[in-house]
Symmetry: C2
Subunit: 345 residues, 2 copies
Amino acid sequence: QDDVVTLAHGAGGEAMRSLVDTLAVSRFADGSSADTAGAVGLAALDDGSVHPLPGTDISIVLTTDSHIVTPPTFPGGDIGRLSVAGTVNDLAVMGVTDPLALTCGLVVEEGTPTAELDRFLESMRESAVEAGVDITTGDTKVMGAGELDGIVLNTTGVGTIPTSEVVTGAGLSPGDAIVLSGTVGDHGIALLAEREGFDFGANLESDVAPINGLVAAATDAGRVTAMTDPTRGGLATALNEMAEKAGVGLEIEEQAIPVDDAIASAGEVLGIDPLSVANEGKVVFGVHSDDADSVLAALREQPLGSNAAIIGQVISDHPGRVVLDTGFGNRYLSEPTGEALPRIC
Amino acid sequence: QDDVVTLAHGAGGEAMRSLVDTLAVSRFADGSSADTAGAVGLAALDDGSVHPLPGTDISIVLTTDSHIVTPPTFPGGDIGRLSVAGTVNDLAVMGVTDPLALTCGLVVEEGTPTAELDRFLESMRESAVEAGVDITTGDTKVMGAGELDGIVLNTTGVGTIPTSEVVTGAGLSPGDAIVLSGTVGDHGIALLAEREGFDFGANLESDVAPINGLVAAATDAGRVTAMTDPTRGGLATALNEMAEKAGVGLEIEEQAIPVDDAIASAGEVLGIDPLSVANEGKVVFGVHSDDADSVLAALREQPLGSNAAIIGQVISDHPGRVVLDTGFGNRYLSEPTGEALPRIC
Ligand SMILES: Nc1ncnc2c1ncn2[C@@H]1O[C@H](COP(=O)(O)OP(=O)(O)OP(=O)(O)O)[C@@H](O)[C@H]1O
Ligand SMILES: Nc1ncnc2c1ncn2[C@@H]1O[C@H](COP(=O)(O)OP(=O)(O)OP(=O)(O)O)[C@@H](O)[C@H]1O
Ligand SMILES: [Mg+2]
Ligand SMILES: [Mg+2]
Ligand SMILES: [Mg+2]
Ligand SMILES: [Mg+2]
Ligand SMILES: [Mg+2]
Ligand SMILES: [Mg+2]
């Protein structure tokens, strides 16, 4: 355990997981609520927790994210949209595509123009309408001048779902297809390009969007066995976590992973791997192999899923590892360690 | 509407309510979820929102608070205990005394000693055990060195309750007794005394504590018509808000309001009115007059309610106002404006 918190602890991936393990999981996860059948507690380290309501077949799903992003307005979105999409998406990948309510926990610095807050909250409203969710309660705290750089925006989401319809990040079985809902790297690379002030002669845009509609289309079209949203740590982290949780291997075809050309070139200039940075409007699905084509077709019919692709399959070899077929041979796709990644979200 | 956010906007009371009105209520509150019978939406500006589950007599209650406190460890508690108690208490005053789950949304600065986080999360754990609630999901973000002074800790809480048992802050009727669960001013004044470094020759301590057990004792003992926890803005704000929401007047006897002697003297030296600063382990109850004595007795049996008192009654005159009988005559007890108050939480 390190002595002080570093930026790597916030980058997703191994460093963060180990901090969260020591700080939170080892101490909170002995609670009782994870014991019920169908419950998903903290120890699962999933996108949210699941709470079956005694005497019913309904579960409550809960998820939270605090958002800090520099700059708070970026190509393709802003912190308001990010906060709504992030939380809607964590609920969606647990199976809750019709969320019940979101909270709005705002921490701002003295001296922040109210017009700026106005823009971010308007953006929250628009994204909430897009996702079909209400913002029903919140909190506002003000820190002194110089005490906070920017805004901290926490959104917590709650929804209900028939317990049997919950989808975890751990549900992969050998034979399942791995389906990705679209291109990867957009959010992280667009944001870094903006921050570095580079002009790449192309419109680099974050993919930030609520994807609960997209997820509903997929789960309606076939048997989805596992889901997660590849945010901090990117696709590489998401795939490794899914493999580890299910104790299976993944065989991924590098050429099949959709990456926007302009994003790929910008990533090269910036020295950032599109597979290792955050996405804010994408989903990784495990799909029963018989249903892979129908799920893919359903995704592609959706505006946010037009670049969806089958990128690989689940194997029983290499448990906990991701084997990347590069077209020239195989290598393990490892998790980014975080040290190399600038803070994005 | 002011052009920039000021500390007064974070102090509770009128300034904050007007900011929240403009930013959030006017824009979010047109959502649909508040239309259901029994629902409590954002426009109610209550301690949390209430979501009746269709086809059942059960509601989900949701509440959120972000916590920032200087110093993060103070006499009687720390930010970890504050975050758990604050959220448990907001659920409790909506009627949910057996909460389902809490989230832990941590934002820390690079360079924060992990031992410090460890202490705060251990304190969260202890307070959660005390309140009988599990912390089941969370989020950890790291800001760069110099970007955040201290720690931001968001806790969101969720619980379920038979819809008919929900208690709002708006339920007062003329004739009801106003019962206070104990002394006021402790948290705010202990914290300010600590911050100013004064030695008052007495052990000034915050009252921070989860009071869901206390609330359960009260609601079991008699008809509680309204509840709120007098946090930011103190008792004066809580009473004014309750009067305004119900369109009733309150007649409060100043001598009946319990204030610890040492807290009162320290408040005098510091120029802080115990009625206007935050409490973090207190409840204001409206109680059907026939049940006031039994509720009072039940509260006094609890360790956290030993100083409980009946402090006044609801009247139909002076709607929206609080009339304070000082013993020498009557005056309106007005809401603190926020400008005068240093930031406490
Ligand atoms: N401070 C914390 N306390 C309790 N649990 C935490 C904390 N931080 C993270 N976790 C848990 O760790 C797991 C991973 O969290 P993470 O924030 O990476 O998930 P995510 O929200 O899906 O991703 P992102 O934040 O990048 O959108 C989750 O199960 C989360 O509940
Ligand atoms: N940023 C926001 N967005 C939406 N609603 C908000 C926001 N800030 C505050 N509110 C709403 O305003 C009302 C008052 O909030 P406040 O935080 O004062 O309540 P509280 O949590 O009971 O008090 P405290 O924060 O002092 O513990 C609540 O109904 C809350 O939902
Ligand atoms: Mg997620
Ligand atoms: Mg997330
Ligand atoms: Mg609050
Ligand atoms: Mg409250
Ligand atoms: Mg509160
Ligand atoms: Mg998160």
